[in-house]
Amino acid sequence: MTDSAAGGGSVPASLATRTMPPVAAGPLLDYDGRLGRLYWLFIKNLLLSMVTFGVYRFWGRTNIRRYVWSHTRFMGDAFEYTGKGSELFAGFLIVFGFFFVVSTLAQIFIVAVGFDSPLVPYFDVVFALAIGYFAFVAQYAAQRYRLTRTVWRGLRGSMSGSAWIYGFYAFLLALLSGATLTLAWPWARSRLIERRLGSSYFGDEKVSVAFSSRTLYPSYVIGLIVFAIGLGIAGWLGFVALQQADFFNRVMDLFSSNTDPEAPGDTDAMVAIIGLIIAVYVLAMLIVALLYTLSFAWFQAATAQTVAAHSRFQDLRFSSSATGGNMAMLAIGNFLLIVLTAGLAIPIVIQRSIRYVVRHLHVSGILDVERLQQAALAKPKTGEGLLEAFDPGMF
C-alpha cells in the first residue's frame, strides 16, 4: 500500500512516502464487490423485511452499504460504513411521527375552517410546497449522514452548513427554474451541486469546487428538444395505436349511462377496460421515463465531466470519462433490468452503477496523508429519516 498516488498510481517512493513501502500501480479507486454476496444480502433483506413488518429493511440497507463500502478501496485501503440500522430506523420513526402529527393537525384545521372555505386551496398549495422543500432538506441531510458514517484509514467525513437553509436555497432555485420553463435548471443545478459538494469534508479537508454551467447548456437544450419531439412522436403513435384498438370508445362506454353495474356482462367489461386503462397508463409512464433518461444522458455526462474537472480535494484532481453513450447504456440498462424483473435485479443495478463510477471517475495527484487530519465537525445522531420518507430505494 502506498501513502501517495499519482495518475496511474505509480510515484517515486522517495517523493511520496517515508513510511510505507510502495505498491504496484493501479487505479486509486477500486471496487471488488461480488454480485453473489450482494444478492445474498438483498434476498435476506427481502425475506426478513416481510416477517418483521418492514423493520428489518433499515438493517438490510445498512448491511448492503457496509458491503459496498468495504469493497471500495482508495489507495489500497477499504472504506468502512459505520452507520447503524437503528439510526436509520430512529430517523424514520421521527419523521413518520412528525408527518402523522402535522397531517392530522392539517386535516383538523381544514375541517375547522370548513372544507368549502376559500382558505382550503391555498392550504393544499402550501402543503405541496412544503413537501418540495422537505425533499431538498432531506437530500442535504442524507448526504451529511452518509459522509459522517464513512471512514477511511480511521478518519471520517462530515459536512458543514444547514440542511434547512439549503432547503430554502434549493427551493427558490427550483421555483426560478420552473418560472423559466426549466431553462435556468442547468445553472440552478450547478449551484446546488457546488453547494452540496463544496460543503463536504473528508477528515479536516473540504472539497473545493467551482464551475460555470455554460458548457452544460448545449447538451441540456438539445436534450429538451429531443425529449419534446420524442414525447410528441410517442404520444402520436400511442394515440393512433389506441384508436386502432378502439380504446377511446370503450372508455367512453364506461361513463355512459348504458352501462348497468348490476348486469354481470357489463361488470366484466368494466373490469376489463379499467385494467386496460391502468396498463396503458403504466406503459405511458415507462415510455416517458425511458425517453427522459435517454434525452438527458448527454447532459448528465457533461455535468459529471464538468463537476469532476473543477473539483479538488487537497492536491487530488478528478476527471470523468462519462459520455452520453455510456451514461445512456448504464441508465437504460438499469431501467430495463428493474422494470423487467420487477425489482429483483436491484443487486445487479447496484453492482453496475458502482462499477461505472469506479471505471469512469479518475483520480490523480498526490494526497498529503500527513496533512489530512481527523474531522472536527459534529455528526448527526439519527439518519436519513426525511430521505426515507421520500423513498430513495434499496441502497
Partner: protein, 356 residues
C-alpha cells in the same frame, strides 16, 4: 515475523505507519519498525471491523466509529492475538446476533402497536366519534349526500315523496330533528337504503319494489333511522378510516359520491345491525306502527336470493344466518301508509324501464 504489510493508522491523520502488534499480558502493543510504541490497546476493547476475503487481512479497532485502525495480515503474531480472544474470529456472527436482537425487539414493538391498533381501535373510534363536533358531522354528511345525489338519478314524484317523508317523520325520534333529516329515493335496483352522517337517508328504488307492503318499507326505514339515532354512520367512518380520512372525504375525495363505496364503508358489524334492529322495533312501536315488517322483509330477501348472491351489505345481517332469527315484531298498529299513498310511492320513479 509479522507481515511487512501490517500497518497502523492513529485516527488523527491519514498517514499509515508500518506496525508490529504483539501481545503483552492483557494489552496489545503496537510498535513501529524502530520499536517505538505507537499505541497500546486493552485487549478486551479490541474489535474486528472488517476482513478482506482476497488477501486475508483484518482491520482491528477500538470500536466501530472513526478512530485508530490496525491492519494485520495473517501471521503468527496475529494468530496469538486471535487465540487470546477467540471471539474476534467470530466478529461477523456476533454482529449478526446483535443485529437480530435489536430487530427482534423492534419487530415485537411494531407487532404490539399493530395489535393495539387492531383490537383497541373500535372502542377508541366509538369514543372519538362522540367528540366529532356536530358541525363537522353535518358537513361531512352534506358532502357525501350532495355528491351522491348529483351522480345518481333521483325519483321526484311529489305525492310519493310526501308519503315517504310523512312515514319517516312519524318514525323518527327527536334526535333526528337537529340537523333536520332528509329522505330521498334514488334509482338503484338493489333492495337497500343507506343512512349518511348528518341525518340523510337514501332509499333505493329496489327497496320499494321488493317491499310487499308499507309495513316492510317502514321496517327498513326504521332500521336506517335507528342507525342515525345510534350515531352509527359517523362512528363507522371514524372506525374505518380514522379521524384524518373523515376529513379527506369531507373534502370531496373522488369516490365519495359512489354508492358502492359508501355502502362498503358503511357496512356495519353484526353487533351494530342487531342494535339497530332492536331500536327500529322500539321506534315503530312508539309510533304506533306494525313492527313485523322488518323481519318479514329480511326473510323475503333471504328466500329470494341464494346465499351466494346475497349482496355484501346483507351478509352481515344477523337475520339471515339463520334466516329464522329475524326480530319478529308484532302485527299490532297500522301499516303506516294509506293505500293511495302506498300506490303513489310504488310509482315514485315513474314508468318502469327495460330490465326492471
Amino acid at each position: 515475523m509479522s507481515d511487512p504489510r501490517d500497518r497502523f493508522n492513529d485516527g488523527l491523520s491519514a498517514a499509515s505507519r508500518p506496525a508490529n502488534a504483539t501481545l503483552a499480558a492483557s494489552r496489545l502493543e503496537i510498535r513501529d519498525d524502530g520499536g517505538r510504541l505507537l499505541a497500546h490497546w486493552a485487549l478486551d476493547e479490541v474489535c474486528v471491523i472488517d476482513e478482506n476475503e482476497a488477501n486475508g487481512s483484518m482491520v482491528f479497532a477500538l470500536g466501530d466509529v472513526e478512530g485508530p485502525r490496525l491492519v494485520l495480515y495473517p501471521s503468527p503474531e496475529r494468530e496469538a492475538i486471535l487465540a487470546a480472544r477467540p471471539e474476534l474470529r467470530r466478529w461477523r456472527r456476533r454482529r449478526g446476533l446483535l443485529e437480530s436482537r435489536t430487530v427482534l425487539i423492534w419487530s415485537l414493538a411494531m407487532l404490539a402497536i399493530v395489535a393495539a391498533g387492531y383490537f383497541g381501535w373500535r372502542p377508541l373510534a366509538g369514543s372519538l366519534a362522540t367528540l366529532v363536533p356536530p358541525i363537522w358531522e353535518q358537513r361531512l354528511g352534506e358532502a357525501m349526500h350532495e355528491s351522491m345525489i348529483e351522480q345518481m338519478r333521483v325519483c321526484e314524484n311529489t305525492a310519493g315523496l310526501n308519503a315517504l317523508r310523512n312515514l319517516a317523520e312519524r318514525i323518527a325520534p327527536p334526535s333526528l330533528d337537529e340537523p333536520p333529516f332528509t329522505v330521498d329515493v334514488v334509482r338503484i335496483g338493489m333492495p337497500n337504503a343507506i343512512a349518511l352522517p348528518g341525518n340523510h337517508i337514501l332509499v333505493f328504488e329496489g327497496l320499494i319494489d321488493e317491499s310487499e307492503g308499507p309495513e316492510m318499507l317502514a321496517g327498513v326505514l326504521a332500521h336506517e333511522i335507528a342507525h342515525l339515532d345510534l350515531d352509527h354512520p359517523t362512528r363507522r367512518i371514524v372506525e374505518q378510516l380514522g379521524l384524518g380520512a373523515l376529513v379527506t372525504i369531507a373534502f370531496g375525495g373522488s369516490n365519495v359520491g359512489d354508492a358502492g363505496f359508501a355502502l362498503a364503508m358503511l357496512a356495519y358489524s353484526r353487533e351494530a345491525e342487531t342494535e339497530a334492529d332492536a331500536r327500529a322495533i322500539e321506534l315503530l312501536e312508539e309510533a304506533g306502527l306494525r313492527s313485523d315488517g322488518l323481519g318479514r322483509f329480511f326473510r323475503k330477501i333471504g328466500e329470494d336470493m341464494p346465499d351466494s348472491e346475497l349482496p355484501d351489505w346483507l351478509s352481515t345481517h344477523p337475520e339471515l344466518a339463520p334466516p329464522a332469527a329475524a326480530p319478529p315484531g308484532t302485527a299490532e298498529g297500522d301499516a303506516g301508509l294509506a293505500k293511495v299513498d302506498w300506490a303513489a310511492l310504488r310509482g315514485i320513479c315513474g314508468k318502469k324501464t327495460g330490465r326492471e
